[in-house]
Symmetry: C2
Subunit: 209 residues, 2 copies
Amino acid sequence: MRSELSEPTVYRLCVVLRILEELRSKQIVISSSELSKYTNTTAYTLRKDFSLLSGVASSKSGYDIENLIFCIKSKLDIGIAKYAAIAGLGRIGMAILNYTDSRIKGYDIVAGFDASVNKLETLHTDIPLYPAYDIEDIVRELKIKLAVIAVPADKAQEIALRFIKGGVEGIINFAPVIIKTDVDTVYIKNIDLVTEFNFLSSIVKTKGE
Amino acid sequence: MRSELSEPTVYRLCVVLRILEELRSKQIVISSSELSKYTNTTAYTLRKDFSLLSGVASSKSGYDIENLIFCIKSKLDIGIAKYAAIAGLGRIGMAILNYTDSRIKGYDIVAGFDASVNKLETLHTDIPLYPAYDIEDIVRELKIKLAVIAVPADKAQEIALRFIKGGVEGIINFAPVIIKTDVDTVYIKNIDLVTEFNFLSSIVKTKGE
DNA sequence: ATCAATCTGTGAAAAGTTTCACAGATAAAA
DNA sequence: TTTTATCTGTGAAACTTTTCACAGATTGAT
């Protein structure tokens, strides 16, 4: 008896969760209207989202932050560790890895991959590193469910395929190329600066007239 | 007499544009169903999107790629140069800058900012660099409309404010923190790994049962 | 020249999402 | 204690977006 949440709702809840975890040390409660200033959404919509959770505690000053964090996490099953891996240990890959160490809790990055065996020997990281041709096996063996791709554009499609064959369920792709897939057992999120630039520039133009 | 496109449509068109520019050297035509494999969308939806453009040329084998690129660009006014800037010249910032040089056409990154004057003197880039405290003035002076933020988390909010005061219309934020704004003259897109991880892991879980 | 296969194009229906209006609740001030 | 201001919670309405069904068009094969 799990009532489903819509995809936009899930995304907004993830953003809100992120904000709350940033704010938890600074304040106790927060109102829906203040929260809306952090998101591209209205207070109405956030309230409606929260109404789909259970056990939310609020008062005239707003929502109890700790309680709301707990409710969102329970509903979304966040906090149950999922194994993740990263492919491509160049500038972006290493930036993500380092930033990750300290910040992403609940996600265990358990493997790094790179095509250059040379690089694998030189790098010093907290996680085990493997050559890229082992992706499929390692993913299967370690039950890795999420992958981050930060390899050069011309390798991204092939690397994605190996992850998919190994059985990952989600991919975040930072390579400047859009990855294609035939299956729909995997959700691919492309993070592409060119696309974002074009989108931003299109909608700001539209808003302004 | 400009018929407005919805935000989801604009975003999909930006993604499609990106794909087409990748594919233009490899093939002449593409069908809506093949395109849909690159996006998290159906062929129906893409066809409907294209029906909102004007001058689209198609045949039984699909859409003419060059023509479609042209139609999307015209409708979205993409290709008209907008000035952009980047703040934070650490690992991510420099990665973006380098990746950018060769790839983002139509956007002139005309300024880089960093808090460390020391760093500004050491770095060798193709674009002029300025200290972070000059953001507001330089943005105004150079008519910069888009900003990329890649500074440490605790500085991002303040840097964003300076860009906004200077008059930018859109911000892409890579700092691992959600930026807040009171005004709605600026569109902020936060690209946050933690949020993406949580979202991915929530929706793949949901899909699988 | 005809047929079969496979595209696109689009109005209408369906589904999904957001907004609104207002009732109810609570905290702080008078 | 009463009032006032300011929250949340939510059903219903409004709006938006996607899906569908099928007509029309084009290509290639026979």
